[in-house]
Amino acid sequence: MTTSFLLLAVGHNTTWYVLPLAGAISLVYSASRYELTERILRRAARLFLTITGFMLAVFVMLWLLSANL
């Protein structure tokens, strides 16, 4: 019951919309920096991880701060 509720909440959370956006931003930004395919893809992967990692860190920080509220 709780698991299905959590899955439903996760599925409807608009935060997930940031992932394709971060992917597109990473690819386009990296493509505008370099010409070489492999370099573009590698830089895009790094940028994507940086963006999502930063957002995850902010999320965890806010979650911890609001733990006892």
């Binding site: 394709p20 505008s32 010409e35």
Partner: protein
Amino acid sequence: MTDPRIDLRNPGLAALLAFLFPGAGHAYQRRYFKAAIYSVCVLGIYFWGCSLGEAKAVHFRWDEHAEDGQSRQRTFGYLAQVGVGLPALPAVAQQLRHAAQFEAENSDRKPGEVLEEIDAEFTGRLNHVELGHPEITGQITGVVRVGGYGFDTEFEGTFVGQTADGNPVQFELLGTRKSGSLQLGDRVTGLDDVTMNELVLETQELDFSGERRRFFVRVVDKTADLGMIEGTIPRPFYNHYLAPLDDESLQYLNGKLGKRYELALVYTWIAGLLNILAVWDAFQGPAYGYGDEEPEPDEKSSDETASESQDNSKPVAAEAGASS
């Protein structure tokens, strides 16, 4: 300076193509991988945003004056969205058409001047003193004119159709906006309140549509008032696609879609802004270089780690040489 290995062909033309259709400039320069990235990412994000906003996230409004007590609208977000090029550009033409319509209806005008001719299929309800309130469908023909003394708008025409149970009906129609006997939705607008007057007003819920246009007008017999027909006529695609929205429609959209409308705006803004990078890349080439230059120290260390993890020991410069 652009790397000599990159053939930008005609950079100005490539930049124009890249602006008009994301990826087209790079395809023209035969940089097909980049063309694929730009077109898929920019257009994918843009049309996904349009889909989230039910095709109403992109519109351009630049009012010089407040309209009918509404606040002056200026959609600064469109200045980002227009970066996508052709998919967003029709909004400018729609704003110009909307402004021309507003100007025609609110400037000093000659009485009797024809503003619009209407010949459209009507669907709605009849509020008639003798016939009651049957559902009716039929053809509306008539003209929208400037009213007497050069102000207000009036409609004069006919309705020929039938009731829901198949009885043929025909009426003369005559209404003026000022008296409340004519309610005509804007010819060019993205969304419009098309709600019929409910008999019990307390239960009335507003209904909005871009494809339908509100059309309420008085039914007359010579000069006697027999009631009104209330319903909608079609609004052609070219009169609502990317057309401006008024305050009421925006409130409706925000209420209906909630966060999805905000997401739609963000997606379409970002798509337009990303394409600026693509346009610059088409015009000037990649900002940092070809890609086989010696990486920065911090990048080098992470690249080495990535290379080790992928068991890929082939040098980047060697690959560049092979590909060129």
